[in-house]
Point group: C2
Chain length 152, copies 2
DNA sequence: CATAATTCCTACTTAATTGATAGGTGTTTA
DNA sequence: TAAACACCTATCAATTAAGTAGGAATTATG
């Protein structure tokens, strides 16, 4: 049930883009520096995010990437799906990209007990990831930093 | 967040072993026929299950595998962990096999917002898989078959 | 005792995926 | 016009996934 680095990194980058007030474009170079991800690898991660219209890009000097929508309108679930595919542990248990059980892997088909279980798992994951927006994460990041401020 | 065929197959086999009344040993050959899994591949899947003492084996004629414990004492979560490792999407969010974030992947370390999110995901998955026993699944399988009986 | 059925063990293979790196082209602003 | 950028495609090494193959050890049974 592992997350790939692509999904992980994409989440970090979008969180980084959600931290500023209003949409400010950040270059791959800057994003790489802030997140510790290789710039060349990050370049590739940004492409599907742009294709999915989660971010907008501007070329040339002072170009970069910015969120295409407000952080409270982008969920982690969306990002993970773009980078890693459906949340469901099995294709037969995906709601956004359902694939019927081929007979050789799911002989009982109708009433497959395991499909029901994997659906429960999918829904449990979705309950967390589709309800968590980048505005939520940004807010948590800010409050998590409070102690340092108080420590003055 | 995909399940491997190993985890999937192991779950099917243990469900099959949970369906009979009392512990009856089934050979790999039989299990393969009932589940549609290659016998040679299934052989390899049984080994870690035995090492984890989830099943017991008997060699020779009339040998085979049986559950080592009562079906209501074996959870799907246990099986998936044996076959696929921790349930958590990130090693830093595992409760059973925690690995601290290395600095290069998690620069903020303390107060890493994403770790909190992955922990929520892990707990959501665990809520389903660690609460579902093979007795539950066997019961569901039996009741799922009822309609056919009623249809006489 | 012989034999067939079985687990057990190790090695191998093939294909896909992961996690990058490399090198260049097109675009924009100062 | 030059630097800073996004954009694009290819390549690569390592790992994992998914399975195959072949045989050794064990055991019940005729």
């Amino acid at each position: 049930m592992k997350l790939s680095t692509r999904g992980d990194y994409a989440t970090r980058v979008l969180l980084e883009l959600s931290l500023g007030e209003g949409p400010t474009a950040l270059s791959v170079h800057d994003l790489a520096a802030r997140t510790g991800i290789s710039a060349k690898y990050l370049e590739q991660i940004m492409m599907p995010l742009r294709a999915a219209q989660l971010v907008r890009s501007h070329r040339g000097v002072n170009g970069g990437y910015e969120l295409a929508r407000h952080p409270d309108d982008v969920t982690v679930g969306e990002v993970i799906r773009v980078m890693d595919g459906p949340l469901a542990p099995s294709p037969c248990a995906s709601r956004t990209a359902h694939v019927p059980c081929p007979a050789y892997r799911c002989p009982t088909e109708t009433g497959c007990v395991l499909r029901g279980l994997w659906l429960d798992v999918r829904d449990a994951i979705s309950d967390v990831l589709d309800r968590t927006t980048f505005a939520d994460l940004a807010e948590r990041q800010r409050t998590a930093k409070r102690p340092e401020v108080y420590a003055i």
